[in-house]
Amino acid sequence: MAIKRWFEWIAPLGVTGGLACLIADIDPSMLLISPTTVSGFALLVVGCCCGLVHFVSLRRSVKALSRQSNELAAGPSEARQRLVSSDDLLGELVTSFNDALGSAERHTKDALSATKELQIQLKVATSQRRQAEAIIHSIDDAVLVTDRFDEVLLANDSASRALGFDKVEAQRRPVDRVVNDPQLVGMIRDVRLGKAANERRVIEHRVRRNGQDRIYRVTLSNIRDSQGESGGVVSVLHDSTREIEIARMKNDFVSSVSHELRTPLASIRAYVEMLIDGEADDEKTRREFHDIIMAESVRLGRLIDNILNISRIESGLLEIKRIPLSVTVVCKEALDVISSQAKLRNVKIEEQLEPAFYQTLADKDMLYQAVLNLLSNAVKYTPSGGTVTLRTMVDESAKKVAVRIIDTGVGIPAKDLPFVFDKFFRVEANKNVAKGTGLGLSLVKNIIETVHKGTMVVTSEQGKGSSFGFELDLC
């Protein structure tokens, strides 16, 4: 049985770069037979050696390439730099491959860098957006942001409260279905469409919510993109109801103070001129004129004191001198002053005073002013024929003294009662009954509660009368 051996060689075929595989089916008995066979075989061996050298070189290159590929696949590396380029075709391939790899690696690095930068920018932008939203949600002003389709992009709590909608449900819904205020919706649309004269429009707008009118200063701003197209409208509603009310009250106050100052001054001037012109014929009339001038001067002084004291108490600049004194004595002094005013108006004064024995620690001038103001109010707002009662009550066990000034006057509507101690406040229904500045009761409350740590009390029934008073600690 013939023994056959298989020889397999792989050899390079010159500069063409091709490879030849010699696979011979050789009978071993033929190897030692003829020179021709030997020389042919030698040629084959040389060829094979050359092929072997190329094969080893190629194998090294491929292995190196493979290793680098693996390293590249594992992550960026400098392996490519260690690859030795050869001057054969495979070397060119490797060089070309290396160049492509280098370019890809540069692009990858650039892309990674750009990605990182974008990620940072995104984080910053997200953080800034959250901050802006937090600010918008935390401010008292109502903020409503609508897009170019008039859909709600953002609304804060104040906006949902002011305009009466659910801010979560409002998201991405048409503003005219969210805000039940056709006038405001129309203004938003006008500003977005550029119908308003300016990109920014400020208007005063009245909103009725829960049966109450609120006045808002609405600022509508058209937000344009880089192409000049409207990107939407930012509407900011500032509730200026209270500011307008304060401005009105201050205006009323200036008018009232001006009137109140001019009235006693008018009497003083007129009576002095009458005296100068000799219009008072007899001594009795002249004395009467002197008394009027004196009384009106005191009235003027008291008014100025009221105005100044209230501002001093509020600013904490008033010097307070507390001494043990009898509330009854202070009440009697105030009654002496008010009795002539009561007599002129035909109002009866009744005294129900505790003995002067009981004392409280108080500033005499201020307590006197408080009692006088309450008495003066009671007389002013009690029609002719009515009664004003001044009562003091002592509770020895609780160590308290209470003062009550009760009148049979016009009374105060229940809705106005919580505001009677507010500065400048005047009961609308009673404005025609008597003149006033709206400062007297505010001053009394400051004197009793801020200065003396006492308690003010008031009850009233419209058409029947009022009871004002306070309680202080005994000493």
Partner: protein, 128 residues
């Protein structure tokens, strides 16, 4: 002052001191003087007595001075009664409202009784 003897002036003011001093000044000048302490009383008195002149405060209980003057203008018999507004001017009166009420003369408090008398004479066409 014989030409003032028949002239009647109605004064309306809720400040009794002002009412008294104006009243005395005009009485001393020879006028017949009527006094009202609020707007409603002034209107009633004017309609009943048909004075030659009304001097009225603005801010009074009941009707204010402008309302009194306006009501008089609506009356057939009292529409030509001239009126002087004697006010403390603390309130921001609308000048159009003042004209509408028929009031053509104003004097503000504090005032000079002497000047007021001059104005009364002027309104009634009396030579000083």
């Amino acid at each position: 002052m014989s030409d003032t003897a028949q002239k009647t002036v109605l004064i309306a003011d809720d400040e009794s001191h002002i009412l008294n001093v104006v009243s005395l000044k005009l009485k001393n000048a020879g006028f017949r003087v009527l006094c009202a302490r609020d707007g409603n009383e002034a209107l009633e008195m004017a309609l009943a007595e048909k004075p030659d002149l009304l001097i009225t405060d603005y801010h009074m209980p009941g009707l204010n001075g402008l309302e009194v003057a306006s009501r008089l203008r609506q009356s057939e018999t009292c529409r030509n009664i001239p009126a002087i507004l004697l006010s403390a001017r603390g309130y921001n009166l609308n000048e159009a409202d003042v004209r509408e009420s028929g009031i053509r003369m104003q004097i503000s408090k504090p005032f000079s009784p002497r000047n007021l008398l001059g104005l009364v004479n002027e309104a009634l066409g009396i030579a000083a």
